[in-house]
Symmetry: C2
Amino acid sequence: MNLILIQPEEVQAGQVRLTDRRADHLRKILKVREDDTVRVGVVGGLMGSGTICGIAQNEVVLQVKLDTPPPAKLDVDLILALPRPIMLKRVLAQVAAMGVRHLFLVNANRVEKSFFDASPVKDGGFLTFLENGLEQAVDTILPTISVHPRFKPFIEDVIPARVAACKLIAHPDGGVNLAERIDAATESGTTLLAIGPEGGWIDYEVVKFQDAGFQPFSLGPRILRVDTAVPAIIAQIDFALQRKASRLR
Amino acid sequence: MNLILIQPEEVQAGQVRLTDRRADHLRKILKVREDDTVRVGVVGGLMGSGTICGIAQNEVVLQVKLDTPPPAKLDVDLILALPRPIMLKRVLAQVAAMGVRHLFLVNANRVEKSFFDASPVKDGGFLTFLENGLEQAVDTILPTISVHPRFKPFIEDVIPARVAACKLIAHPDGGVNLAERIDAATESGTTLLAIGPEGGWIDYEVVKFQDAGFQPFSLGPRILRVDTAVPAIIAQIDFALQRKASRLR
């Protein structure tokens, strides 16, 4: 936890009174004392410092000063074939930590139907995992999430309504690599990135993505698990976008 | 499991008899039948196909044909401050899957001493996790691993003996980004990459790395957990090396 994340309504007269796992973390892991300062951030708002002004058995009181904007989001929306629950939890934290703006969790032929009935998808319990990612990365802006249990309406109706400068689908037979795809995009703006399930997209899905304007790219011969592929591909897009921006400047 | 990994001594007269989790995987997950073929690979050797020629309650017999070299390794050696055991297991699989050549697991001021006494470090039980990575990525060449419980002899004696074209240390205050560092390296060859512990390297360690020729680079304002930082940074190095190679061609 590199940031103590607080809800807007918890700040009262410049102070926050914590009694949950955040208080435990401050007392037992960071072993704070009075007058120590820690990094704090308000969900959806500014970051800054919190000065410890009271510690008791079960609570920690902080005087907060909020003066720093959170880091810029990555201009990437991620379309992810719904992974198995244990992997989803991990990927939610990764996606929040890396600054993805929006996550589409979609069905695909090789997604097990039971995944849609599993926690956290069924109970909408994404928040804990996303907040863990923000606490790790030092950010306050949650990614937004939408769940799409049917592929066809997603690709035919939802996607055409999104504005994107570059639409990419990771696919082993994609041929061209990511750098060429990103350099070829003439507009600047959001990158829409689609990453498939274990076993990959089926041909029908790839064709539908291509009909919707997505360009396939290959990551090379290695097949990465979703919790490795997601940070790897997002990091490469970030890298390519930064290079492109610095050349255009 | 995208590849059935077999040991060299298991191949006899072109056949392999499996009775362990690999047989279970073939029977219960892949639900193979006679004459089906699956991808196989011999640890340290060639890959190819295995044709099912016998299935019984507890065993599967494959006729193997080995004719394909494994994918090229990434020309990257990773120096990693020893992470907590649960994270280490995950990172071992990631490192193997991404094709890293050598992994140095090193001590640092912010590494808890108990991590060196924990499994898999104490019992040398790295193999299972590395093999999981190869089975996922479709590769047969294991990364090599060395464990360095003392930082000073590692940085003063071990590192100077390594030949590397580019030595990089991930550090929040690194300023310059990865692309500039890699483009500036005039030789081609191995990249030595150092990634710190939770909480980062201390100043003494950064200075020692710099004395040993390492250049710091920054990943930006976000602090990533080791299982996100490792694939993200390795993917960016892979990307930068590929671009550099294509420009030099």
